[in-house]
């Protein structure tokens, strides 16, 4: 199912490969508005953003959350993803270059299923945290083989 890491390697402290995205520009935000269905003009129309008291348009929170998910699905099949959540700590701005990291913070077995919890962070080029999240992978004995 497209796993690039061996589940046995996912022990506490293990870090998935870092996902680095290209710097966010206005086209990124316009494309994501259309693709995601979030047509809130505050992300694509600088007049609206400024009228709302912002300096300029800024990224949709769900764009960074989609990026952060790629750190997971680039390493393991989405089929083992049981839950995924994120808290939007700071606004992601134009020209931010987002890096996504995932680190195993807990691993336990429950009814024959390996549950692997990862802590997730998305930061910009200045190491400012934009998103903090958590994911749980649930891997059956069969999938462990």
């Amino acid at each position: 199912m497209g796993n690039k890491v061996n589940f046995n390697d996912l022990i506490v402290g293990y870090e998935l490969p870092v996902t680095v995205k290209k710097p966010i520009d206005r086209a990124t935000l316009a494309l994501f508005a259309g693709a995601s269905g979030d047509h809130n003009p505050i992300h694509i129309d600088s007049d609206v953003a400024q009228a709302a008291g912002m300096d300029d348009v800024f990224a949709q929170g769900m764009l960074s959350m989609a990026y952060l998910a790629q750190c997971l699905t680039g390493a393991v099949s989405q089929s083992v993803l049981r839950s995924y959540s994120a808290r939007f700590g700071a606004i992601t701005h134009l020209r931010d270059e987002i890096s996504c990291r995932a680190r195993v913070c807990e691993r336990r077995e429950e009814a024959g299923v390996e549950l692997i919890r990862l802590e997730l962070t998305a930061t910009n080029q200045n190491d400012e945290v934009k998103l903090q999240g958590e994911a749980v992978l649930a891997i059956s004995q069969k999938e462990m083989q």
Binding site: A35, S36, V48, A66, Y84, A86
Partner: protein, 147 residues
Amino acid sequence: MIDRDNIGRNWPSIDVAVEKGQLVFFAKATGETNPIYTDDSAAKAAGYPALPAPPTFGFSLNLAVPDPFARYTSLGIDLNKVLHGEQGFTYYAPICAGDVITLQDTLTDIYDKKGGALEFLNFTTKATNQRGDHVLDMRNTVVVRHG
């Protein structure tokens, strides 16, 4: 202040088709390079019947209505004052191109911080597919900035 009587309010469910073209567009817009999200044969080789929706796509399905922000305006909230606070997904089964997903929103809580300067709304959404399978739950916290 948002009327606390709205706690527990349910919105009418919506049915949304999961369209392959939209999934491919979403992959492009997010710089996705994993072919299972854009190439039918890669998706099938990975065990999916069609292109799978990526982990956060359920949020987009819930916006696929003529006025996705009506739930804010119906509560008297100015969209320009709304920030996304938290978002969570719990997955039970894949969502794939060709599925029709029924989404049901509930406003589960409203509370404030900083003396009412910030109000928080917690929504939950239950998603089921055309076979009646419960595929996804979503949790959404939005922050409304007052003043």
